[in-house]
């Protein structure tokens, strides 16, 4: 593979270069920008009337329609990994964040890392918390891949780093509103998928139709009151009936206490997709087999956008974040 331009800053680089002379970034890595893949407002034509008269404040000067801008709708497509994060229909802000990157070429096998965090809506600056968490965790994971580190150990380090940066956002004078978020991550190599989780965002394994791989399933366990009660022997029905059954029992934040992420590594044994998502998606289609049914088989941006559209159609009650990685991460073309 020949890289002719730095994926970070666009500067021309030589075929033998491993690092960009301009920005110092590894030429093997392509990642989402720190702060999120934010669409700049007032770019092109109005999304509603098609007019070319979008004002600086993000509204069309003709039809008045607010243009999707900033964090309301974030999209990124690196071929091997795609993601869509949408505000949904009822929330005032998008407090979900996503970050991901690829490592292609070099000594390591082609690897994708992805992180999704869902800001806890009752906390302050939850969007800030989730964005810092995904950006820092992705850096930790990409660095580990470049150094051929152990994915499970890297996942734990990424969670520790996320806790550290989110805790820094807390206002020591206001303990009740410490910014906080959930966390899911995946490190996808040609042979294995390593998943980490804290809170109620999920990672799914979605087997390709007719694939010899293991069947579709949820790879994470929700850290909620209900799942903890079920672990103690209550039936699903009984657990879901308790007060605040779906409240988080674990989260990332200054007030989270001592927490360890759940980390699992699987070998799917055949082609499929790894899906990272916030509860804005899986609340509408929680079942892994059902998700496999509704997801367009070609994967990629089409599939991520369609899953997001489905959640919007079913109500869009919460922020919706969908990140898709094909397994093994070698089929699609890299960009």
């Amino acid at each position: 593979m020949t890289v002719s331009n730095c994926p970070g800053c666009g500067t021309a680089v030589g075929p033998e270069d491993r690092f960009c002379e301009e920005c110092g970034q590894s030429l093997l890595v392509q990642r989402t920008p720190v702060g999120g893949p934010v669409i700049e407002p007032a770019g092109g034509a109005c999304v509603a009337c098609g007019g070319e008269n979008v004002g600086a404040d993000g509204f069309c000067e003709d039809c008045g329609r607010g243009q999707p801008s900033g964090r309301d709708r974030m999209e990124a497509d690196f071929g091997l990994v795609v993601g869509v994060s949408d505000k949904g229909k009822r929330r005032a802000r998008n407090e979900d964040s996503m970050a991901f990157g690829t490592v292609l070429g070099g000594d390591a096998p082609p690897t994708v890392v992805a992180v999704v965090c869902d800001g806890v809506a009752t906390s302050d600056r939850a969007d800030n918390a989730s964005q810092r968490a995904v950006d820092e965790a992705t850096t930790v994971l990409l660095d580990a891949v470049l150094e051929n580190g152990d994915p499970a150990a890297a996942t734990k380090a990424a969670v520790a780093r996320a806790i550290e940066v989110v805790s820094q956002l807390a206002d020591p004078n206001v303990p009740g509103t410490a910014p906080s978020c959930t966390f899911v991550s995946a490190v996808v190599t040609p042979t294995e998928v390593t998943v980490g989780s804290v809170g109620d965002s999920r990672v799914y394994w979605l087997a390709a139709p007719g694939s010899a791989a293991m069947s579709s399933r949820v790879l994470t366990v929700d850290d909620t009151v209900a799942t903890e009660l079920m672990a103690e022997g209550l039936s699903e029905e009984e657990a879901n009936a308790v007060y605040q059954a779906h409240a988080l029992s674990k989260w990332i934040g200054a007030d989270a206490g001592e927490i360890e992420p759940r980390v699992v590594t699987i070998s799917p044994g055949g082609p499929g997709h790894v899906l990272l998502c916030s509860d804005g998606l899986w609340n509408y289609v929680p079942d892994a087999a059902a998700l496999t049914e509704v997801m367009p088989a070609e994967g990629g941006m089409t599939a991520a956008a369609e899953l997001t559209a489905l959640a919007l159609k079913l109500g869009g009650h919460d922020n919706i974040t969908t990140v898709l990685v094909p397994f093994p991460p070698t089929e699609g073309e890299d960009s």
Binding site: A48, C49, D57, F59, C60, E61, D62, C63, G64, R65, G66, K87, G88, K89, R90, A92, L312, G315, G316
Partner: protein, 436 residues
């Protein structure tokens, strides 16, 4: 330099399919210069005194009107241009002695007061002619702040309503006119129309003795204005319809029909002269519905101040009226208290005016229903001044339910006071913080 700040109070969330957007726009002007001397030639004042024969009955009316005019003249700042007009079925310039206006100095003020002392009452009432003379006097002045005081005690008998309407159409926008009715023989509706068209206030001065303080206050108010011919500019999106634009505080005034188009998609509504003060406007816009989750700019409000001496007009302050469609009924059904407050006040004014109209026409049923509703609204809003005025026209059995009986005998002054002051509103007590 006067600056304008615009704040918008609304519930921007709309249920799916809803199209009506309501907002209260608070405009605050600040930084108006204060001091004893107006910049020379920036302000002009014309005082119009009714000198029809009826001003002699009772005798105190003309005596008080002269004293009040003298007090107003004393309140004029040095440097302000002024004139005094006597109105009958004709109009006559009392001071200065030649057509035009003079600059207020200790000497001209003394001369003017001498001329006013000699006024006699004799003849009829043709208010349109008085206003035309005032307009012609103002046109001889280069002052930007133009204010008139109009005092009358009778109905416009000596010209047709059409003549008056034509005059108002011709002179509107040329000057601001505060109108006062003395006694109880004048027509509330007539004077209100004049005041509304000329962006001024209307009030009753039941006892002639009250005129002096009122004239002094009106003149002082006019002297405190710093910027004239300010317009409220409203931008609305393609496909939108403006249902109304009303001033709702300090008094009610419907500006909807006063729109002057400013292409593309904006219109200016005249607001007259401003000092350092705050006014509230209720804007109601109908927009094309969009899908839930969509956000729309339903309106943008700013203030347009004409440029001085050839400079460009200035567009100051910017307020955004939003529409966000949601499925969440907890959001879309939330009532904005500012909007509710002024909607209630507008309904209160309408109920009073319609109720009194029905009462005059002998329609007891409608009058009782409307005035009952008015009592109920005044109680709900806490508008105690209006409640007090209402209780002189109806016997209140239950204010909460609006159960009333019309009083058999009502003093003309009480009825006219209630009617005149029905458009006086009460400021909403603003919340400390607004929801995001």
């Amino acid at each position: 330099m006067t600056d304008f700040a615009v704040e918008v109070y609304q519930n921007e969330y709309l249920a799916a399919g809803s199209t009506e957007v309501n907002a209260i726009v608070t405009v605050t002007a600040s930084g108006a210069p204060t001091g004893p001397a107006a910049p020379s030639g920036s302000a002009a004042e014309v005082i119009i005194v009714d000198c029809s024969g009826s001003m002699h009955v009772p005798r105190t009316k003309l005596v008080s009107a002269k004293q009040a005019t003298a007090a107003a003249i004393d309140t004029l700042r040095d440097g302000v241009q002024f004139a005094v007009v006597a109105g009958t079925d004709e109009s006559r310039l009392v001071y200065p002695y030649q057509h035009g206006m003079v600059v207020a100095t200790p000497q001209t003020r003394a001369e003017a007061k001498e001329a006013v002392k000699k006024l006699a009452a004799n003849g009829g009432t043709a208010i349109g002619k008085w206003l035309r003379l005032a307009d012609s006097l103002f046109s001889s002045s280069t002052a930007s702040m133009r204010h008139a005081i109009l005092l009358t005690d009778g109905q416009n008998m000596h010209e047709t309503p059409r003549q008056l309407a034509n005059t108002l159409r011709d002179i509107q926008g040329h000057f601001v006119c505060d109108c006062r009715g003395v006694g109880t023989d004048w027509e509330v509706k007539e004077l209100r129309t004049i005041a509304d068209t000329l962006l001024g206030t209307v009030d009753i001065v039941a006892e002639p003795e009250g005129l002096e303080a009122d004239f002094r206050a009106m003149t002082a108010g006019a002297m405190s204005k710093a910027v004239a011919d300010v317009a409220l500019r409203l931008w609305t999106p393609m496909g939108a319809t403006i249902k109304f634009v009303k001033q709702v505080e300090p008094t009610l005034a419907d500006l909807t029909a006063r729109r002057v188009e400013v292409p593309p998609r904006s219109g200016d509504y005249p607001t007259g002269s401003w000092g350092s003060e705050t006014r509230d406007y209720h804007v109601c816009v109908q927009v094309p519905a969009a899908a839930t989750g969509e956000k729309m700019l339903a309106g943008r409000v700013s203030l347009v101040v004409p440029g001085t001496a050839g400079s460009e007009e200035q567009v100051l302050g910017k307020g955004r009226i939003l529409a966000v469609w949601t499925d969440d009924t907890a959001l879309s059904t939330r009532i904005n208290r500012e909007v509710a407050h002024y909607t209630g006040q507008a309904e209160l004014a309408a109920a009073i005016q319609e109720g009194l109209e029905a009462r005059k026409a002998g329609d007891v049923e409608t009058a009782t229903a409307k005035l009952g509703r008015a009592v109920q609204l005044a109680t709900e809003i806490g508008h105690t001044d209006t409640a007090k005025l209402l209780s002189k026209v109806v016997d209140v059995e239950d204010a909460r339910t609006g159960t009333v009986r019309l009083k058999r005998k009502v003093a003309a002054v009480d009825e006219m006071t209630l009617d005149t002051r029905s458009s006086k509103t009460m400021r909403v007590r603003k919340k400390q913080s607004t929801e995001s």
